[in-house]
Symmetry: C2
Subunit: 212 residues, 2 copies
DNA sequence: TTTTGTGAAGACATTCACAGCG
DNA sequence: CGCTGTGAATGTCTTCACAAAA
Protein backbone atom coordinates (compact mmCIF):
# COMPACT_ATOMS: atom_id res chain seq x y z
CA UNK A 1 0.00 0.00 0.00
CA UNK A 2 1.17 3.51 -0.81
CA UNK A 3 0.68 6.77 0.98
CA UNK A 4 1.79 8.88 -1.95
CA UNK A 5 -0.62 11.19 -3.68
CA UNK A 6 -2.80 9.46 -6.24
CA UNK A 7 -2.11 10.85 -9.72
CA UNK A 8 -5.09 12.50 -11.38
CA UNK A 9 -4.55 10.22 -14.36
CA UNK A 10 -5.13 7.24 -12.08
CA UNK A 11 -8.29 8.74 -10.60
CA UNK A 12 -9.63 9.24 -14.09
CA UNK A 13 -9.25 5.55 -14.81
CA UNK A 14 -10.80 4.20 -11.63
CA UNK A 15 -14.33 4.46 -12.87
CA UNK A 16 -13.39 2.68 -16.09
CA UNK A 17 -12.11 -0.19 -13.98
CA UNK A 18 -15.24 -0.05 -11.89
CA UNK A 19 -17.51 -0.39 -14.86
CA UNK A 20 -15.42 -3.14 -16.38
CA UNK A 21 -15.56 -5.11 -13.14
CA UNK A 22 -19.33 -4.78 -12.93
CA UNK A 23 -19.56 -6.12 -16.44
CA UNK A 24 -17.26 -9.04 -15.73
CA UNK A 25 -19.16 -9.85 -12.58
CA UNK A 26 -22.36 -10.05 -14.62
CA UNK A 27 -20.60 -12.44 -16.95
CA UNK A 28 -19.78 -14.64 -14.01
CA UNK A 29 -16.03 -14.03 -14.04
CA UNK A 30 -14.69 -14.45 -10.50
CA UNK A 31 -11.01 -13.71 -10.90
CA UNK A 32 -9.22 -11.53 -13.43
CA UNK A 33 -5.55 -10.87 -14.02
CA UNK A 34 -4.20 -7.45 -14.86
CA UNK A 35 -3.53 -8.77 -18.34
CA UNK A 36 -7.18 -9.72 -18.83
CA UNK A 37 -8.41 -6.42 -17.48
CA UNK A 38 -5.94 -4.59 -19.69
CA UNK A 39 -7.05 -6.44 -22.79
CA UNK A 40 -10.63 -5.43 -22.16
CA UNK A 41 -10.05 -1.75 -21.68
CA UNK A 42 -7.13 -1.17 -23.98
CA UNK A 43 -4.56 -0.27 -21.35
CA UNK A 44 -1.20 -1.59 -20.26
CA UNK A 45 -1.27 -4.33 -17.57
CA UNK A 46 1.47 -2.64 -15.54
CA UNK A 47 -0.53 0.55 -15.46
CA UNK A 48 -3.55 -1.23 -14.07
CA UNK A 49 -1.48 -2.93 -11.38
CA UNK A 50 0.11 0.34 -10.43
CA UNK A 51 -3.21 2.16 -10.32
CA UNK A 52 -4.76 -0.48 -8.11
CA UNK A 53 -1.75 -0.67 -5.85
CA UNK A 54 -2.32 2.93 -4.72
CA UNK A 55 -5.25 1.67 -2.71
CA UNK A 56 -3.63 -1.42 -1.33
CA UNK A 57 -6.08 -3.49 -3.31
CA UNK A 58 -4.08 -6.65 -3.01
CA UNK A 59 -4.40 -9.05 -5.83
CA UNK A 60 -3.29 -12.62 -5.40
CA UNK A 61 0.13 -13.34 -6.85
CA UNK A 62 0.04 -16.06 -9.41
CA UNK A 63 -3.72 -15.67 -9.72
CA UNK A 64 -5.07 -12.16 -10.23
CA UNK A 65 -7.79 -10.02 -8.62
CA UNK A 66 -11.08 -11.20 -7.18
CA UNK A 67 -13.58 -9.37 -9.34
CA UNK A 68 -16.26 -8.88 -6.72
CA UNK A 69 -13.87 -7.79 -4.01
CA UNK A 70 -12.02 -5.35 -6.21
CA UNK A 71 -15.25 -3.86 -7.51
CA UNK A 72 -16.43 -3.11 -3.98
CA UNK A 73 -13.06 -1.69 -3.03
CA UNK A 74 -13.13 0.69 -6.00
CA UNK A 75 -16.68 1.82 -5.30
CA UNK A 76 -15.53 2.65 -1.83
CA UNK A 77 -12.44 4.52 -2.98
CA UNK A 78 -14.49 6.54 -5.46
CA UNK A 79 -17.10 7.36 -2.86
CA UNK A 80 -19.94 5.97 -4.94
CA UNK A 81 -21.36 3.72 -2.28
CA UNK A 82 -23.96 6.40 -1.65
CA UNK A 83 -26.25 8.39 -3.93
CA UNK A 84 -25.01 11.91 -4.55
CA UNK A 85 -27.47 14.74 -4.98
CA UNK A 86 -26.68 17.00 -7.90
CA UNK A 87 -27.77 20.55 -8.69
CA UNK A 88 -28.20 21.23 -12.38
CA UNK A 89 -28.00 24.82 -13.57
CA UNK A 90 -29.33 25.57 -17.02
CA UNK A 91 -32.48 23.96 -18.39
CA UNK A 92 -31.87 24.63 -22.06
CA UNK A 93 -31.21 21.96 -24.64
CA UNK A 94 -28.16 20.52 -23.02
CA UNK A 95 -29.42 20.87 -19.46
CA UNK A 96 -32.72 19.17 -20.20
CA UNK A 97 -30.89 16.32 -21.82
CA UNK A 98 -28.62 15.90 -18.88
CA UNK A 99 -31.61 15.85 -16.57
CA UNK A 100 -33.11 13.07 -18.64
CA UNK A 101 -29.86 11.20 -19.11
CA UNK A 102 -30.08 7.91 -17.30
CA UNK A 103 -26.36 7.35 -17.17
CA UNK A 104 -26.06 9.64 -14.17
CA UNK A 105 -28.54 7.69 -12.15
CA UNK A 106 -26.78 4.46 -13.06
CA UNK A 107 -23.62 5.87 -11.54
CA UNK A 108 -25.28 6.89 -8.30
CA UNK A 109 -26.08 10.51 -9.06
CA UNK A 110 -29.49 12.05 -8.78
CA UNK A 111 -30.54 15.42 -10.09
CA UNK A 112 -32.12 16.91 -7.03
CA UNK A 113 -32.71 20.50 -8.10
CA UNK A 114 -32.72 22.34 -11.41
CA UNK A 115 -32.15 26.07 -11.83
CA UNK A 116 -32.58 28.37 -14.78
CA UNK A 117 -32.71 32.04 -15.55
CA UNK A 118 -36.23 31.48 -16.86
CA UNK A 119 -37.69 29.08 -14.35
CA UNK A 120 -41.13 28.77 -15.88
CA UNK A 121 -40.04 25.84 -17.94
CA UNK A 122 -40.16 22.39 -16.49
CA UNK A 123 -37.76 19.59 -17.09
CA UNK A 124 -38.15 15.86 -17.27
CA UNK A 125 -35.53 14.16 -15.12
CA UNK A 126 -34.64 10.50 -15.35
CA UNK A 127 -37.05 9.77 -12.52
CA UNK A 128 -39.76 12.38 -12.78
CA UNK A 129 -40.75 15.83 -13.88
CA UNK A 130 -38.78 18.32 -11.84
CA UNK A 131 -39.67 21.85 -10.94
CA UNK A 132 -37.20 24.44 -12.16
CA UNK A 133 -36.13 27.13 -9.69
CA UNK A 134 -35.01 30.63 -10.55
CA UNK A 135 -31.36 31.48 -10.10
CA UNK A 136 -32.17 33.67 -7.11
CA UNK A 137 -33.15 30.60 -5.17
CA UNK A 138 -29.97 28.72 -5.98
CA UNK A 139 -28.09 29.50 -2.81
CA UNK A 140 -31.01 28.82 -0.51
CA UNK A 141 -32.05 25.51 -2.09
CA UNK A 142 -28.55 24.14 -2.60
CA UNK A 143 -27.38 24.87 0.91
CA UNK A 144 -30.62 23.74 2.53
CA UNK A 145 -30.51 20.44 0.72
CA UNK A 146 -26.80 20.01 1.33
CA UNK A 147 -26.05 19.44 -2.34
CA UNK A 148 -22.32 19.14 -2.94
CA UNK A 149 -22.11 18.61 -6.70
CA UNK A 150 -23.16 21.07 -9.39
CA UNK A 151 -23.53 20.67 -13.13
CA UNK A 152 -23.25 23.85 -15.17
CA UNK A 153 -25.03 23.82 -18.54
CA UNK A 154 -25.54 27.52 -19.22
CA UNK A 155 -24.08 29.60 -22.06
CA UNK A 156 -20.61 31.08 -21.81
CA UNK A 157 -21.82 34.50 -20.65
CA UNK A 158 -23.50 33.36 -17.49
CA UNK A 159 -21.14 30.57 -16.57
CA UNK A 160 -18.65 32.24 -14.24
CA UNK A 161 -21.44 33.90 -12.30
CA UNK A 162 -23.27 30.59 -11.90
CA UNK A 163 -20.08 28.93 -10.72
CA UNK A 164 -19.59 31.70 -8.17
CA UNK A 165 -23.09 31.19 -6.86
CA UNK A 166 -22.64 27.45 -6.63
CA UNK A 167 -19.40 27.87 -4.71
CA UNK A 168 -21.08 30.38 -2.44
CA UNK A 169 -23.83 27.85 -1.77
CA UNK A 170 -21.32 25.27 -0.58
CA UNK A 171 -20.80 23.18 -3.70
CA UNK A 172 -17.51 21.24 -3.69
CA UNK A 173 -17.39 19.69 -7.14
CA UNK A 174 -18.50 21.10 -10.48
CA UNK A 175 -19.00 19.45 -13.84
CA UNK A 176 -18.87 22.35 -16.28
CA UNK A 177 -20.17 22.22 -19.84
CA UNK A 178 -19.70 25.91 -20.55
CA UNK A 179 -16.73 26.73 -22.76
CA UNK A 180 -14.73 28.54 -20.10
CA UNK A 181 -12.27 27.52 -17.41
CA UNK A 182 -14.01 28.96 -14.39
CA UNK A 183 -12.11 30.51 -11.50
CA UNK A 184 -12.83 28.68 -8.27
CA UNK A 185 -11.33 28.56 -4.79
CA UNK A 186 -8.79 25.86 -4.18
CA UNK A 187 -11.10 23.56 -2.28
CA UNK A 188 -13.52 23.25 -5.19
CA UNK A 189 -12.88 20.63 -7.86
CA UNK A 190 -13.87 21.37 -11.45
CA UNK A 191 -14.15 19.06 -14.44
CA UNK A 192 -14.61 20.77 -17.77
CA UNK A 193 -16.38 19.09 -20.66
CA UNK A 194 -16.30 21.23 -23.77
CA UNK A 195 -18.23 19.55 -26.54
CA UNK A 196 -17.33 22.07 -29.21
CA UNK A 197 -13.63 21.76 -28.42
CA UNK A 198 -13.77 18.01 -28.53
CA UNK A 199 -15.09 18.11 -32.06
CA UNK A 200 -12.61 20.78 -33.08
CA UNK A 201 -9.67 18.75 -31.91
CA UNK A 202 -10.99 15.90 -34.05
CA UNK A 203 -10.97 18.06 -37.16
CA UNK A 204 -7.36 18.97 -36.52
CA UNK A 205 -6.43 15.42 -37.39
CA UNK A 206 -9.00 15.03 -40.16
CA UNK A 207 -7.85 18.02 -42.12
CA UNK A 208 -4.32 16.67 -42.22
CA UNK A 209 -3.23 14.76 -45.30
CA UNK A 210 -3.65 11.00 -45.00
CA UNK A 211 -0.61 9.55 -43.28
CA UNK A 212 1.85 7.74 -45.51
CA UNK B 1 8.52 27.09 -37.07
CA UNK B 2 8.79 23.45 -36.02
CA UNK B 3 8.38 20.27 -37.97
CA UNK B 4 8.05 18.09 -34.87
CA UNK B 5 4.83 16.28 -34.13
CA UNK B 6 2.26 18.45 -32.40
CA UNK B 7 1.51 17.05 -28.92
CA UNK B 8 -2.08 16.01 -28.39
CA UNK B 9 -2.16 18.22 -25.33
CA UNK B 10 -1.43 21.19 -27.56
CA UNK B 11 -4.14 20.25 -30.04
CA UNK B 12 -6.61 20.08 -27.19
CA UNK B 13 -5.86 23.67 -26.27
CA UNK B 14 -6.04 25.18 -29.74
CA UNK B 15 -9.77 25.57 -29.72
CA UNK B 16 -9.62 27.24 -26.31
CA UNK B 17 -7.26 29.78 -27.81
CA UNK B 18 -9.52 30.14 -30.80
CA UNK B 19 -12.54 30.96 -28.72
CA UNK B 20 -10.60 33.34 -26.52
CA UNK B 21 -9.35 35.21 -29.56
CA UNK B 22 -12.85 35.52 -30.99
CA UNK B 23 -13.96 36.98 -27.70
CA UNK B 24 -11.07 39.44 -27.55
CA UNK B 25 -11.69 40.46 -31.12
CA UNK B 26 -15.29 41.29 -30.21
CA UNK B 27 -13.99 43.40 -27.37
CA UNK B 28 -11.89 45.34 -29.84
CA UNK B 29 -8.52 44.08 -28.61
CA UNK B 30 -6.06 44.17 -31.49
CA UNK B 31 -2.91 42.80 -29.95
CA UNK B 32 -2.43 40.41 -27.05
CA UNK B 33 0.69 39.13 -25.32
CA UNK B 34 1.07 35.55 -24.20
CA UNK B 35 0.80 36.84 -20.62
CA UNK B 36 -2.59 38.44 -21.32
CA UNK B 37 -3.87 35.35 -23.09
CA UNK B 38 -2.60 33.19 -20.27
CA UNK B 39 -4.33 35.30 -17.64
CA UNK B 40 -7.64 34.92 -19.43
CA UNK B 41 -7.57 31.19 -19.81
CA UNK B 42 -5.72 30.16 -16.70
CA UNK B 43 -2.64 28.74 -18.36
CA UNK B 44 1.07 29.43 -18.28
CA UNK B 45 2.37 32.04 -20.78
CA UNK B 46 5.28 29.86 -21.85
CA UNK B 47 2.90 27.07 -22.67
CA UNK B 48 0.86 29.31 -24.91
CA UNK B 49 3.94 30.55 -26.72
CA UNK B 50 5.17 27.02 -27.21
CA UNK B 51 1.80 25.81 -28.45
CA UNK B 52 1.54 28.61 -30.97
CA UNK B 53 5.12 28.22 -32.11
CA UNK B 54 4.34 24.76 -33.48
CA UNK B 55 2.47 26.44 -36.29
CA UNK B 56 4.95 29.16 -36.97
CA UNK B 57 2.37 31.67 -35.83
CA UNK B 58 4.87 34.43 -35.36
CA UNK B 59 4.08 36.93 -32.73
CA UNK B 60 5.86 40.24 -32.67
CA UNK B 61 8.69 40.40 -30.12
CA UNK B 62 8.25 43.16 -27.65
CA UNK B 63 4.58 43.43 -28.63
CA UNK B 64 2.57 40.23 -28.70
CA UNK B 65 0.21 38.56 -31.16
CA UNK B 66 -2.20 40.24 -33.56
CA UNK B 67 -5.55 38.93 -32.39
CA UNK B 68 -7.27 38.85 -35.74
CA UNK B 69 -4.37 37.29 -37.59
CA UNK B 70 -3.78 34.62 -34.96
CA UNK B 71 -7.45 33.75 -34.84
CA UNK B 72 -7.54 33.12 -38.58
CA UNK B 73 -4.34 31.12 -38.42
CA UNK B 74 -5.78 28.87 -35.72
CA UNK B 75 -9.04 28.36 -37.55
CA UNK B 76 -7.01 27.25 -40.48
CA UNK B 77 -4.83 24.90 -38.46
CA UNK B 78 -7.89 23.33 -36.83
CA UNK B 79 -9.62 22.92 -40.15
CA UNK B 80 -12.71 24.81 -39.04
CA UNK B 81 -12.82 27.20 -41.95
CA UNK B 82 -15.49 24.98 -43.45
CA UNK B 83 -18.68 23.45 -42.08
CA UNK B 84 -18.32 19.79 -41.17
CA UNK B 85 -21.22 17.42 -41.61
CA UNK B 86 -21.80 15.14 -38.66
CA UNK B 87 -23.66 11.84 -38.35
CA UNK B 88 -25.34 11.34 -35.00
CA UNK B 89 -26.14 7.79 -33.92
CA UNK B 90 -28.58 7.39 -31.06
CA UNK B 91 -31.68 9.54 -30.74
CA UNK B 92 -32.40 8.87 -27.08
CA UNK B 93 -32.13 11.46 -24.35
CA UNK B 94 -28.53 12.33 -24.88
CA UNK B 95 -28.64 12.09 -28.65
CA UNK B 96 -31.69 14.34 -28.94
CA UNK B 97 -30.00 16.89 -26.77
CA UNK B 98 -26.88 16.84 -28.83
CA UNK B 99 -28.97 17.33 -31.96
CA UNK B 100 -30.54 20.38 -30.39
CA UNK B 101 -27.33 21.70 -28.89
CA UNK B 102 -26.44 24.94 -30.61
CA UNK B 103 -22.82 24.88 -29.53
CA UNK B 104 -21.97 22.48 -32.33
CA UNK B 105 -23.34 24.76 -34.99
CA UNK B 106 -21.44 27.67 -33.51
CA UNK B 107 -18.24 25.71 -33.97
CA UNK B 108 -18.93 24.88 -37.58
CA UNK B 109 -20.52 21.47 -37.21
CA UNK B 110 -23.87 20.51 -38.61
CA UNK B 111 -25.83 17.40 -37.78
CA UNK B 112 -26.60 16.10 -41.21
CA UNK B 113 -28.07 12.70 -40.47
CA UNK B 114 -29.44 10.98 -37.39
CA UNK B 115 -29.66 7.21 -36.91
CA UNK B 116 -31.39 5.09 -34.31
CA UNK B 117 -32.37 1.50 -33.71
CA UNK B 118 -35.99 2.69 -33.56
CA UNK B 119 -36.15 5.24 -36.33
CA UNK B 120 -39.78 6.19 -35.96
CA UNK B 121 -38.90 8.91 -33.53
CA UNK B 122 -38.00 12.30 -34.89
CA UNK B 123 -35.46 14.67 -33.53
CA UNK B 124 -35.22 18.44 -33.42
CA UNK B 125 -31.82 19.61 -34.56
CA UNK B 126 -30.48 23.09 -33.98
CA UNK B 127 -31.72 24.12 -37.41
CA UNK B 128 -34.72 21.99 -38.13
CA UNK B 129 -36.57 18.79 -37.45
CA UNK B 130 -34.51 15.95 -38.81
CA UNK B 131 -35.69 12.60 -40.03
CA UNK B 132 -34.21 9.67 -38.16
CA UNK B 133 -32.88 6.77 -40.23
CA UNK B 134 -32.68 3.17 -39.14
CA UNK B 135 -29.28 1.70 -38.44
CA UNK B 136 -29.46 -0.41 -41.59
CA UNK B 137 -29.24 2.74 -43.66
CA UNK B 138 -26.20 4.06 -41.84
CA UNK B 139 -23.58 2.90 -44.27
CA UNK B 140 -25.48 3.99 -47.34
CA UNK B 141 -26.38 7.47 -46.10
CA UNK B 142 -23.05 8.26 -44.47
CA UNK B 143 -20.96 7.25 -47.44
CA UNK B 144 -23.31 8.84 -49.97
CA UNK B 145 -23.23 12.13 -48.14
CA UNK B 146 -19.50 11.94 -47.54
CA UNK B 147 -19.87 12.47 -43.80
CA UNK B 148 -16.52 12.16 -42.04
CA UNK B 149 -17.44 12.75 -38.39
CA UNK B 150 -19.67 10.57 -36.25
CA UNK B 151 -21.14 11.15 -32.80
CA UNK B 152 -22.05 8.02 -30.85
CA UNK B 153 -24.77 8.43 -28.24
CA UNK B 154 -26.07 4.90 -27.84
CA UNK B 155 -25.95 2.68 -24.75
CA UNK B 156 -22.90 0.64 -23.93
CA UNK B 157 -24.22 -2.57 -25.49
CA UNK B 158 -24.61 -1.23 -29.00
CA UNK B 159 -21.63 1.08 -29.05
CA UNK B 160 -18.85 -1.06 -30.51
CA UNK B 161 -21.13 -2.28 -33.27
CA UNK B 162 -22.15 1.27 -34.13
CA UNK B 163 -18.53 2.35 -34.20
CA UNK B 164 -17.71 -0.53 -36.55
CA UNK B 165 -20.50 0.50 -38.88
CA UNK B 166 -19.37 4.12 -38.87
CA UNK B 167 -15.81 3.12 -39.68
CA UNK B 168 -17.07 0.86 -42.43
CA UNK B 169 -19.00 3.79 -43.87
CA UNK B 170 -15.86 5.87 -44.13
CA UNK B 171 -16.02 7.95 -40.95
CA UNK B 172 -12.63 9.31 -39.87
CA UNK B 173 -13.35 10.92 -36.51
CA UNK B 174 -15.67 9.81 -33.73
CA UNK B 175 -16.93 11.60 -30.66
CA UNK B 176 -18.04 8.79 -28.38
CA UNK B 177 -20.37 9.24 -25.41
CA UNK B 178 -20.77 5.55 -24.69
CA UNK B 179 -18.82 4.31 -21.69
CA UNK B 180 -16.42 2.11 -23.62
CA UNK B 181 -13.11 2.64 -25.37
CA UNK B 182 -14.02 1.41 -28.83
CA UNK B 183 -11.58 -0.50 -31.00
CA UNK B 184 -10.93 1.32 -34.25
CA UNK B 185 -8.42 1.08 -37.08
CA UNK B 186 -5.39 3.31 -36.78
CA UNK B 187 -6.58 5.92 -39.25
CA UNK B 188 -9.72 6.71 -37.24
CA UNK B 189 -9.52 9.26 -34.44
CA UNK B 190 -11.70 8.80 -31.36
CA UNK B 191 -12.53 11.21 -28.56
CA UNK B 192 -14.29 9.69 -25.58
CA UNK B 193 -16.57 11.73 -23.35
CA UNK B 194 -17.83 9.70 -20.44
CA UNK B 195 -20.24 11.75 -18.37
CA UNK B 196 -20.66 9.17 -15.64
CA UNK B 197 -16.91 8.83 -15.21
CA UNK B 198 -16.44 12.56 -15.02
CA UNK B 199 -18.81 12.77 -12.11
CA UNK B 200 -17.26 9.76 -10.44
CA UNK B 201 -13.81 11.23 -10.55
CA UNK B 202 -15.23 14.32 -8.86
CA UNK B 203 -16.56 12.29 -5.97
CA UNK B 204 -13.15 10.75 -5.44
CA UNK B 205 -11.97 14.11 -4.25
CA UNK B 206 -15.17 15.02 -2.41
CA UNK B 207 -15.24 11.95 -0.27
CA UNK B 208 -11.78 12.72 1.04
CA UNK B 209 -11.46 14.54 4.36
CA UNK B 210 -11.17 18.32 4.04
CA UNK B 211 -7.53 19.20 3.47
CA UNK B 212 -5.65 20.56 6.45
C1' DT C 1 12.56 47.79 -23.23
C1' DT C 2 9.29 44.42 -23.91
C1' DT C 3 7.94 40.08 -25.32
C1' DT C 4 8.72 36.23 -28.32
C1' DG C 5 10.70 31.60 -29.32
C1' DT C 6 13.17 27.85 -27.43
C1' DG C 7 16.81 24.89 -25.21
C1' DA C 8 17.24 22.90 -20.68
C1' DA C 9 15.20 21.53 -16.34
C1' DG C 10 11.60 19.79 -13.88
C1' DA C 11 7.25 17.44 -13.07
C1' DC C 12 4.31 13.95 -14.29
C1' DA C 13 2.84 9.58 -16.54
C1' DT C 14 3.64 5.22 -18.76
C1' DT C 15 6.06 1.12 -19.60
C1' DC C 16 9.64 -2.20 -18.69
C1' DA C 17 11.57 -5.83 -16.21
C1' DC C 18 12.17 -8.52 -12.37
C1' DA C 19 12.21 -9.82 -7.39
C1' DG C 20 9.19 -12.11 -4.45
C1' DC C 21 4.94 -14.25 -3.07
C1' DG C 22 1.17 -17.62 -3.58
C1' DC D 1 5.30 -21.99 -12.28
C1' DG D 2 2.24 -17.34 -13.02
C1' DC D 3 1.12 -13.01 -11.64
C1' DT D 4 1.43 -9.10 -8.50
C1' DG D 5 3.76 -5.13 -6.78
C1' DT D 6 7.32 -1.89 -7.62
C1' DG D 7 11.99 0.37 -8.60
C1' DA D 8 14.20 2.01 -12.58
C1' DA D 9 13.95 3.55 -17.36
C1' DT D 10 11.59 5.83 -20.73
C1' DG D 11 8.44 8.99 -22.64
C1' DT D 12 5.50 13.06 -22.55
C1' DC D 13 4.07 17.59 -20.95
C1' DT D 14 4.89 21.86 -18.43
C1' DT D 15 7.59 25.50 -16.66
C1' DC D 16 11.82 28.12 -16.26
C1' DA D 17 15.00 31.28 -17.84
C1' DC D 18 17.36 33.77 -21.25
C1' DA D 19 19.25 35.08 -25.90
C1' DA D 20 17.60 37.35 -29.80
C1' DA D 21 14.37 40.33 -32.25
C1' DA D 22 11.30 44.30 -32.84
Amino acid sequence: MKRTKVPTATVGRLSIYGRLLIQMEEEGVEVASSAQLAARCGLNPAQIRKDLAYFGAFGIRGVGYRVNELKDRLKDVLGVTRVWKVALVGAGNLGSALAAYRGFLAHGFEIDAVFDKYPNRCVLSAKKTVEVFGLKELKRVVSQRGIKIGVVAVPQEGAQSVVDQLVDAGIQGILNFAPIRPDVPEHVRVKNVDLGSELESLTFYLSKPVKG
